[in-house]
Symmetry: C3
Subunit: 256 residues, 3 copies
């Protein structure tokens, strides 16, 4: 997957510089298990988290946010009501939003809900293969993913051992990362929040999503070199994200 | 408490190998403060966490889980409703479940609730001395604990400076651990989740509970040698759990 | 801001010694993002956290607590009901309580609520400049803050690049800390919980609040010397708090 002359690492370094310059606020409706790590990842990445799900005030928070994350990892009536308000607000203001349909393959009611809100204009849907299959009712081969993205006019960021980002017309593949990323709870949820942060500074959804995935994958590799296991790794990946520079992106990217 | 020729460390190493091989999914109804650390402990230990408490979907999650944890550290109506569904599902499918009656000594309504659900067939109840006294309305001396376990036909894992695991007939005592374990919030809650993971691969409840307690105690000692205080210790204990091997269990176990 | 002969570091060392001796229990009504870090900060500092927000049992918990924290970072009906019970209990028992009106500058309904409960006798209000302006409807210059504290008969702990603690008559200024403290979510929330722990052993609210702010600021500086970024810093600051001694307070304090 190494593409020696890929233009992507330079473009990602530029997106990161804009995140650190603008410090976008990402309003994150996310599950209870993911809130702390997501907030710390956003802070390390250069963005600002806000997290309320109160129906009394989420409108005020999303109105002035730069991007919105909707993560379905906690599925209760209060969050669904808050999500409805938040998506209306985001769509009305043309604020980009990201859908992360966590574990919908395990819960039919959650999958139904994900399919309904996927029609409300997310810029990016980030998920794994099992979640894609539950969302799209299609296999997760490249052709199906590309076709789904094109027909729905959204960008799919399908993460796994290798990641595929596609809007149906353009494809990016990213092979960076480390196996310990699967042993830290909420790593994928935090990655989705990073996608939202990138969308706040970059309108090209494929580039924005690719930026988040490449940055986290390279940070994971750097962190693994300093950590001794998944516990110290969770701290080190925050340090690595905070210190990530163009040289590391260029030298380590495995992209096409 | 050192028992040079104890058979326990070898048996525990075998239980750990089975956890890592099977990767059981432990559905954990746990308190808001414990969710993240519990999830990361399960992942480091080789198991898979799931954590939803939504009444709309907890049935789907528990139906296919390999074990269930019911932790009472957050006590609200929604969790009680979810707990009721989850226990019904677990009992119906003969899925082993663990009760952790957190802080019931501080709250009479929580203690009443714990006494009611303790009658619904948990394989193991893990608690400290004050919680045992509130649950059993007995003193926490060895004789009372052993008698309670025998009469109720469940295994009690009483943790403290030294741990006692008993089903009323068989007793195991485990003396491993480190004082910093008391300075990391949710350490006991995570330990209960590890008991559930072990029950998914080992039907002998005394062995399953002892495996979790010995593994975490030894990991705590290894972590303390690398850490400088309770903050780095919380990361190091995850690394130590992830890398834990038979040699460390055998050489460090203080058991009888 | 260095005041070579300040009496404050010695007095703070004495407050810390009393916290570690008494181990006060701080009942913390705090937001979902802050609960874990707050609990771990309290444990590292020598105090005991409890965190339930269930209306069925918060009365029991606050009745025997040594101090109460009311943090508004999550704003939902259940927490408002629990908060009402908790404040009544605390006021009735003369248990000191701290108000942390998190992000009220972003949400008008939350600001209204903060103004209402600020009248119910908090010993200390800890906040940043934007939150002060929303609470007091005044600018956040020193004169306004001092006047507000005096008129309301409470202590304001205004944190920022430099901190001001005032009851309207006495002022303390604390210049310790590190920029990475702004990159760890819930750092300010945890600081407010430390204020509550100090109030449990020290009736002088200005000294109690100054003790928490100086201790955390010095711990932050010590942690930054060991950490490589905000992830390892979050662990190191817990270690530093746990090991904090008078020598470090005296040699590093930048106070007046």
């Amino acid at each position: 997957m190494r593409a020696l002359r890929s233009d992507l690492p330079d473009m990602v370094a530029d997106v990161l510089a804009r995140v650190r310059e603008k410090r976008p606020r990402v309003h994150s409706i996310t599950n209870a298990v993911a809130q702390v790590f997501t907030a710390n990842v956003l802070l390390a990445f250069g963005a600002i988290p806000s997290m309320t799900i109160s129906v009394d005030e989420i409108g005020s928070f999303v109105e002035r946010a730069d991007a919105l994350l909707v993560n379905l990892g906690t599925f209760d009536a209060e969050r669904r009501a808050a999500t409805d308000i938040a998506i209306k607000q985001a769509v009305g203001k043309s604020t980009p939003w990201v859908l992360d349909p966590v574990l919908i393959d395990r819960s039919p009611p959650r999958a139904d809900y994900a399919r309904a809100i996927a029609k409300r204009g997310p810029a990016v849907v980030r998920l794994n293969a099992a979640e894609f299959e539950a969302l799209a009712r299609l296999p997760s081969d490249d052709g199906s993913v590309i076709r789904y993205a094109g027909e729905r006019e959204l960008t799919v960021a399908l993460t796994g051992a290798a990641d595929l980002v596609t809007d149906g017309q353009h494809q990016r593949r990213i092979g960076n990362g480390h196996e310990w990323m699967t042993l830290v709870t909420a790593m994928g949820c935090a990655e989705s929040a990073m996608v939202a942060a990138c969308l706040a500074v970059e309108k090209n959804s494929v580039l924005a999503a690719s930026s988040a995935l490449l940055a986290l994958g390279v940070a994971g590799e750097l962190a693994a070199e300093r950590a001794r296991g998944p516990g110290t790794f969770a701290a080190e990946i925050l340090d690595a994200l905070h210190g990530l520079d163009k040289a590391a992106l260029v030298s380590r990217a495995r992209v096409s």
